[in-house]
């Protein structure tokens, strides 16, 4: 190791040391001239300029010279050249990126610990000028340490490495590695990937290409040949039944066994609210599946947590399947028909809504042209079946809709809408139009992307084309209205207008069999169910989420999907601060405010959401399960993966020649040592000391010689 200079030319500046000496010795005080009558007497005195030719303050002069020398040295950018950092063998410093898989499959054996050790080995092999990054990845990628040569920092980053509940995705991690390599100015790049290399983690070409000169070095963990035996719960179905007014649920779990050689009996346990409710044994052959049906479970309390649990095996995360169930609330439906309507005016509708396994609709019929406030209590959806209501009732419905209720206006011979509340409708009602030619009209267009028709979109999911319509009311939809269905002549059959949190739908036909034969079609019953559920705001509750999903707790619809009933969801969405408790016990604050409140679901188990500082008896709970794709331990060929990432041989490399590499190395050494900063500081300190000392000396001198004359 020897002292070298990056810009040795600046060393010439050391010659500047002689400047103060020369100035000191040659300077004349020309500014002080005393006119004297005659120099006759002065010339008689033998005299020499000895004082000017003798340096009096050697210390001050030394300080000045030293400061100038330090200044010149600082500009020459000195550094300790480590000759051991030979470039010939290595080809220049490397940018090393270590990608460590932290997906939950890494819990098999001690893969994660192995990964940590092998990453440490990689770091131990780094040269003094090499830099390294640590990136942990599962579904996403997190940079734990970026482009550093600090070994302690890299070791610390490895220590923070933990298993996640996510599945393996190579794409994001490789993208991060690509970015790091592209931003690096080092000669070579190396990407080490420490993973169990599951095939499911790579979906093909994801647009990742490492720069030329970068190598991909896979470090597979575990034995590729050995396929682990693994049990997992893939699904739980939760059919509901209404028995004697009480709702019952019958959980049925689907259990899969992967690998193995002999049939095995597996104990499948159902836990409800943390307590074992029942355990059943099931015999599973290798690579086989079985369904386990548990006895019906009466749902009495909301947000009931349940788990189907299998015994521990090598991969434990997929052994449990969590779900949350709540008793379903029956939708209150009010059917309003004219006082003089036929007795079977609403017969088909009423019967259709009464037919359900779980008694999900509670139907009330009112024969009057007015709606009282009491009529709307506990009602979620209102059907105005060929009736025209008064203005006051319309205003009450406006308030009802504003708070989330739904209204369907069915237009028959008598049907109408008070002009005072015309803005609530999606359009204007026209006269009766007959379609008597041929075999009548049909529905020609359906908005299948709408929630009402969504379930009918698939093949053999319901046929509306069989229904015929002989008469209809003309309806002119406004621009803001959404037309959900049209007749084959293009006229509007069904249109929707959203008001507040609720909606108003106009059906330009009757709901009985007087103007059409839809009521006699098989599609009528599910169609009416869908319309009613949509109007009543009922969404299919999701009993569990999957790792990686994000729930917006400020979105009522998302909360409805998560299992909250309408009122609860609205309350939570608009409420004050919330806090989410993760399965591992950490709290995630969700402060109230404008905009979304996203809760990323990153752990499997139950997430509890509640107001901070409270302990509600039945808090809102969401179940989260792992992505079962990760349970497939089949491996991808790491070399094949690498071939897709690295540039083909022969492409123009970024590798630097030896001279450039040496120059870079010297610059890097100098930059890291930064000796010039210290030299500059020392020079500054010397200059300040010299100034203070010389001022002091001058003051002393001036104090000793007062009263100059002349």
């Amino acid at each position: 190791m020897s002292l070298a200079f990056l810009v040795p030319l600046f060393l010439l500046g050391i010659a500047g040391i002689v400047v103060p000496v020369v100035v000191h010795l040659t300077r004349r005080q020309r500014k002080n001239v005393v006119h004297f009558p005659s120099l006759m007497f002065l010339e008689k005195i033998p005299y020499q300029e000895q004082r000017r030719r003798r340096i009096q303050h050697w210390f001050l002069l030394s300080l000045r010279a030293l400061a100038l020398a330090l200044l010149a040295l600082a500009f020459a950018r000195p550094f300790m050249d480590d000759a051991e950092l030979g470039l010939g063998a290595t080809g220049g410093p490397r940018e090393v990126v270590v990608l460590v898989d932290q997906s939950y499959s890494m819990e098999i054996g001690d893969h994660l610990e192995q990964a940590r050790e092998r990453a440490q080995d990689v770091f131990d092999g780094l040269g003094p000028l090499d830099r390294a990054s640590v990136v942990a990845f599962s579904q996403g990628a997190t940079v734990l340490a970026r482009s550093t040569s600090d070994r302690a920092r890299l070791r610390g980053a490895l220590d923070t490495l933990q298993l996640s509940s996510g599945a393996t995705r190579f794409g994001p991690a490789l993208k991060v590695a690509q970015t790091i390599l592209e931003e690096s100015n080092l000669a070579r790049g190396e990407v080490y990937m420490l993973s169990d290399f599951q095939r499911v983690g790579w979906i093909g070409d994801e647009g990742v290409r490492f720069p030329a000169g970068a190598d991909f070095i896979p470090l597979p963990l575990g034995e590729a040949a050995s396929v682990e035996e693994n049990y997992l719960v893939t699904d739980v179905s939760l059919p509901r039944q209404s028995v004697s007014g009480r709702e019952r649920i019958t959980p049925t779990a689907r259990v899969v066994r992967r690998g193995g050689s002999e049939p095995e009996t597996v104990a499948v346990t159902l836990l409800v609210d943390g307590q074992v409710l029942q355990q059943q044994d099931v015999l599973l052959a290798p690579d086989a599946a079985a369904s386990v049906q548990f006895p019906p479970l009466t749902l009495s309390r909301p947000h009931t947590r349940a788990t189907v649990q299998l015994p521990e095996d090598a991969l434990s995360a997929d052994n449990a399947h969590h779900f949350v169930v709540s008793p379903g609330a029956a939708l209150g439906v009010l059917i309003v028909e004219g006082a003089s309507a036929n007795s079977n005016e609403s017969l088909f509708l009423r019967r259709a809504l009464e037919i359900s396994d779980d008694g999900r609709f509670r139907v009330t019929v009112r024969r009057a042209s007015s709606i009282r406030p009491v009529d709307l209590e506990g009602v979620d959806a209102v059907f105005l079946n060929d009736v025209i209501i008064d203005g006051g009732s319309a205003e009450r419905l406006r308030a009802f809709v504003g708070e989330g209720g739904g209204v369907l206006v069915a237009l028959g011979e008598e049907g109408g809408w008070p002009a005072s509340a015309g803005d609530m409708l999606p359009g204007t009602i026209g006269p009766v139009q007959d379609r008597l030619q041929g075999r009548g009209g049909r529905l020609g267009f359906l908005q299948y992307s709408h929630p009402i028709f969504e379930v009918f979109a698939g093949p053999r999911s319901g046929d509306f084309t069989g229904a015929r319509f002989f008469r209809a009311r003309a309806f002119q939809a406004t621009d803001s209205a959404e037309v959900l269905a049209r007749f084959d002549d293009g006229s509007v059959a069904m249109a929707e207008h959203t008001t507040g949190r609720g909606k108003v739908i106009v059906w330009a036909n009757t709901l009985d069999d007087f103007w059409n034969d839809l009521t006699r079609q098989p599609i009528y019953l599910p169609f009416m169910h869908r319309v009613t559920e949509y109007l009543g705001g009922r969404a299919e509750a999701v009993p569990w989420f999957t790792i990686g999903q994000v729930v917006d707790l400020a979105n009522p619809e998302a909360l409805l999907t998560a299992g909250l009933v309408s009122s609860e969801a609205a309350g939570l969405a608009e409420g004050l601060d919330q806090v989410a408790l993760t399965p591992s016990g950490q709290t995630v604050p969700l402060p109230a405010g404008e905009g979304p409140r996203y809760l990323p679901l990153e752990e499997h188990g139950f997430y509890t959401v509640r107001p901070p500082g409270t302990e509600p008896e039945r808090p809102f709970v969401m179940a989260v399960n792992v992505d079962l794709e990760e349970s497939n331990l089949a491996r991808i060929d790491a070399e094949e993966l690498g071939a897709q990432l690295t540039a083909p041989p022969g492409s123009e490399g970024r590798a630097l020649n030896v001279d450039e590499a040496a120059s870079l190395q010297r610059e890097d050494q100098e930059r890291r040592q930064s000796l010039w900063r210290w030299l500059l500081l020392a020079a500054l300190a010397l200059f300040m000391t010299e100034t203070a000392l010389s001022n002091w000396v001058s003051r002393q001198k001036a104090g000793a010689q007062p009263g100059l004359a002349g």
């Binding site: 002080n32 005393v34 009558p37 120099l39 006759m40 004082r51 010689q705 100059l708 004359a709 002349g710």
Partner: protein
């Protein structure tokens, strides 16, 4: 020296302060002020040395005072002659003023030339009061102005003194030799100079004047800085006459300078006294009375010897 006679400074002494004199623009008024104040304080008669000399005889004319008839001549010639007397001066008085460039130095309000002019004016006024004939010679390395001594030249002398300017290099021997030729009638010669020459050269220049019978009174004008050399800071010292410059660190040279100057002054005084010349060293920061006393003493001595 004359220091013993300066103790009787009187109430008019404030008019002798050079700083005060510097504010009086008119030389005649200055001289009158100084001399009157000086004499008033001295309580001496202003007509000291006054006498009446015989001029000529003229025939008596009716109306003449019969007391002025020369009876001895009447006895010899039997004719009436009137004896005329002339109120004559006692002596010729000339100021020889050095106006070389070195005289243009002053460390305070007055330069040496200013001081010398005041002194010359005062002495001229004083002499004029004594009915002496007043003359003036200014010189540097040659005679610059020459006013022969006369009763009528007092105003001219004052005018020239007022106009006198120092600017050229000086030299004593040349001009003084010329003056010796010019002033054939003996009288009182007051030489005012800073005598920046070797004592031998000075005596060589002054010797002929004394040999011709003049009463030589020498006033050596020196600035206090020339005597004390109080400079502190190292500086370049420039000669006013030759403009030569040398670097000097005064603190190192002061003692030696003073010694050399003192030796020079002592030598001048010794040599002049030995040649019966009155030598007086004048410090331009001191009042003029010492110079006046010195002149007065010399004048009195001459009156006695005559």
């Amino acid at each position: 020296m004359a220091s013993t006679s300066t103790g009787s400074s009187a109430s008019g002494a404030q008019f002798l302060d050079p700083a005060v004199l510097g504010r009086i623009g008119n030389l005649q008024l200055l001289a009158k002020t100084v001399v009157d104040g000086f004499l008033t304080g001295l309580h001496r008669s202003p007509h000291l040395g006054f006498s009446i000399d015989f001029a000529e005889h003229r025939p008596y004319m009716p109306g003449d005072d019969i007391r002025r008839i020369d009876w001895r001549l009447f006895a010899r010639t039997d004719r009436h002659y009137i004896k005329l007397f002339e109120a004559d001066t006692n002596a010729n008085f000339a100021v020889l003023l050095d106006v070389s460039a070195s005289m243009n130095y002053g460390s305070h309000t007055l330069t040496k030339l200013d001081y010398a002019r005041y002194l010359a004016a005062c002495l001229s006024f004083f002499s004029n009061q004594q009915r002496d004939r007043v003359g003036l010679v200014t010189f540097d390395h040659e005679i610059v102005e020459y006013v022969p001594p006369s009763m009528k030249h007092f105003d001219t002398v004052l005018h020239l003194l007022d106009k006198a300017e120092a600017g050229r290099a000086g030299n004593l021997s040349g001009p003084l030799l010329q003056i010796t030729e010019l002033l054939r009638r003996t009288g009182i010669l007051v030489i005012i100079s800073d005598f920046y020459e070797d004592p031998d050269a000075v005596m060589e220049a002054l010797g002929p004047l004394r040999a011709r019978g003049h009463d030589v009174i020498v006033f050596h004008v020196m600035d206090p800085h020339e005597l004390e050399f109080p400079f502190e800071e190292a500086s370049g010292f420039e000669d006013l006459e030759t403009h030569e410059q040398i670097p000097v660190i005064p603190t190192k040279l002061r003692e030696e300078y003073r010694r050399v100057v003192a030796h020079h002054l002592d030598e001048l005084q010794r040599r002049m006294t030995g040649s019966r010349m009155d030598y007086t060293l004048l410090d331009t920061s001191k009042p003029l009375d010492m110079a006046l006393f010195q002149y007065l003493l010399a004048r009195e001595r001459m009156m006695k010897t005559r």
